[in-house]
Amino acid sequence: MDPVLLARWKFALTAGFHFLFPPLTIGLAWVLCWLLWKHYRTGAEVYGRLGRFWLRLFAISFVIGVVTGITLEFQFGTNWSQYSRFVGDIFGAPLAAEGIFSFFLESTFVGVLIFGWGRVSRKTTWFASLMVAVGATLSAFWIIVANSWMQTPAGFKIANGRAELVDFWAAAFNPSTLPRYLHTVDAALITGGMFVTGIGAYMMLKGRQIEMARRSVKAGLCVTLAAALLQFGLGHYHAVQVAHTQPEKLAAFEGLFETQKQAPALLFGIPDEKTGTVSHAVRIPGLLSLMAFGDADAEVKGLNDFPRSNWPPLAMTFYPFHLMVLLGGWFVVLPAMGLVLFRRRLQGGSRWLLWVMVLSIPLPFIANELGWIAAEVGRQPWIVYGVMRTADAASPVAVVPAGQILAAIILLSLVYLALLGVWFHLIRRTIAKELESPEPGPIQAAVSETTSPRISE
């Protein structure tokens, strides 16, 4: 088997699995931070209970993000040694910075947050949650700096057989860093918001811990709606950047073969890479030109303008992109509907909608994966766009033979499958336990004057 293809599969599997968790924990960390802030300021018992509950779910997810992240940091060296030699002068620094500025922060304070509960003051607990949220959000920044440099490399020269840094700021804030960072963090907020919404809805359906459940659903819906509306702007900002800096990727996103003025946006269609046509197309004329360049008459480059050897795999770029956009619309529709119905009839009246919320929990995860696939497959055949091809980047086959990669893929797949099973089981267990726990009486639900947040006792 082709060792480069195997190495790519290994990276796709491990990065794809890892990427399920950080967006969730970044989103949850901010929800948690807000709940603990309310708890610190008001002392209300209900915020303490909510904080404790969401902290448990956060902790279970956080550890899986941590352990699967180690794989990725090792992997550049283990499977992509030619790449590491070539770009280490630029690519290594953000990874090290991520350790120094983010991982230490989140990991140390996650300990304080979880194990300091009830031992340290409410203020310290809140502060710890803030540091965790800041650390997690910063860590996303550094890894996206590194990844964006692969998309739109800047601030370097080729010298001594490698890419050498000449301008740190230009490399760190390369053309795609900011749009991709904001787009991803906002997606994390949607992921966290929908998770909180869906689990709250599930608790409402079970008819227990109604007070907690209702607050969760409401908070989750608000976060999701705000983040999803914002995502229209941020997604657009990112697409404009792709149009300007990676035209063949945009053409693949849109299934555009012919370079044209008044380029249409494709609402639906089935592109065929071989014939260079799109069947069953539903187009809005001029819309793509307008969105990408702010002018309906602007020229948009089609794939036919680029050598075939530089085309990204079309289907793997086109479909994920369109499905992601579709899901993005749903993340506005669902919370908008939810908030309207919530206002009208608060209990029991809209069980179907609560079920829809529960079933929508996986959708942001899927949208994240789709966006990641569109972005990274759309970068192919380059590992560093325009600079280094993926085919030239892997570890030499004499050093890391295909059989060893395959063995690692099988081993890690089994481990990850087990992790996913354990994660799902423990999330369910934690929710079930919360549902079984005694409901707070009216006195507990009211503002209490106690100074220490002893919730679990």
């Binding site: 279970i60 550049f76 280490g88 690519f91 290594g92 000449v166 890391v400």
Partner: protein, 340 residues
């Protein structure tokens, strides 16, 4: 700043990060080494002792890896691809143990706990051993081609010298973990941990002497700096002294100085290796001219300088809040199992 100065600084900083990892996550791993020896009812206390801190400790490894990638990319590329299978095993071990720490006490069922107990113990012993084996192979030198690619086989990594270093690492880490358990677990378990520490320290001292003798006899290339500057022999001597000191304090039931001495011993071990290697990072066992050194394998001056600024700004803050957090845990009552 001169690039040679920066290369020197980053050689040191890399070993500082590795030392931080060995000293801090070393006791987490060491706790795991004893986990299956401990009575079933004591295992929760062992885990509780490291739960608030293990994750932060493990970041030292990630940061060391990132720093190696950033400062010495060819070293990162050669070592990580060359030790492919070993690192994959290390990785699975780290995943298993971290999951075990977090998940074991989430369920009551004995089968659930037994499963995670095995994960935790195996996931601690295997990395503790492998890290030493990897270090032993690097000390001994790897066969490299002209582009720095490892040309040996997986089984060539399991040579006697590397295995000796692996056992030494395992013994030191086991002792370190046991001494931490003495400090941070309640009485009946702490007393047993004292016995474990005594055993492991004896083994560590014996293996350290053996490794030193074998190195002097067979690894001449590691003695260049020691020959040139004999005062450097103070480093391995201090290491032996620190390990003996840990044993002596442990015998007299002085847990804090024993653990402190053990910390010094762990750091001394890495310093001993660093002095032996400098300025080489990976000696080429087939041809010394192909060795990867701080001079021929570093990033550009600009990258090293920016990274140095990152470290200067970031690491004092990291150490600051870590000291704060450790002091917080030090004032807590030992062995209070908590819902989490």
């Amino acid at each position: 700043m001169e690039i040679t100065v920066l290369q020197f600084i980053w050689f040191i900083l890399l070993f500082v990060l590795l030392g931080g990892y060995a000293m801090l996550d070393g006791f987490d791993l060491g706790i795991g080494v004893w986990h299956l020896w401990a009575r079933a009812e004591d295992r929760r206390s062992l885990l509780d002792a490291i739960r608030p801190v293990w994750d932060g400790n493990e970041v030292w490894l990630l940061t060391a890896g990132g720093a190696m990638f950033a400062a010495f990319p060819p070293v990162y590329a050669s070592v990580f691809s060359g030790l492919y299978l070993a690192l994959t095993l290390l990785l699975v071990g780290l995943i298993a143990r971290a999951s075990a720490v977090e998940f074991r006490d989430k369920e009551e069922a004995p089968s659930w706990r037994r499963f995670w107990d095995v994960c935790f113990a195996a996931g601690s012993i295997v990395p503790a051993l492998l890290l030493g084996v990897a270090m032993g192979n690097i000390l001994r030198g790897l066969p490299l081609d002209a582009s720095g690619n490892f040309t040996g086989s997986f089984f060539s990594l399991l040579n006697p010298y590397a295995l000796l270093c692996g056992l030494l690492g395992l013994a030191v880490i086991a002792a370190h973990g046991a001494l931490y358990a003495v400090l941070r677990t309640p009485a009946p378990l702490a007393i047993r941990a004292r016995r474990w520490a005594r055993l492991a320290l004896q083994a560590a001292l014996l293996l350290f002497g053996l490794a030193a003798a074998v190195t002097i006899l067979t690894q001449r290339h590691l003695l260049t700096n020691y020959d040139r500057l004999p005062v450097l022999w103070a480093v391995p001597l201090a290491t032996a002294l620190a390990l003996s000191g840990a044993a002596a304090y442990n015998r007299r039931d002085k847990a804090r100085p024993a653990f402190a001495a053990s910390c010094a011993g762990v750091l001394g071990l890495l310093a001993t290796a660093a002095v032996g290697l400098f300025p080489t990072l990976v000696p080429a066992s087939n041809n010394a001219a192909l060795s990867l050194t701080a001079a021929n394998s570093s990033s550009s001056e600009l990258t090293l300088r920016i990274m140095f600024i990152f470290a200067l700004v970031g690491m004092p803050i990291v150490i600051g809040y870590n000291v704060w957090a450790y002091r917080l845990w030090a004032t807590q009552q030992k062995g209070t199992s908590r819902d989490y």
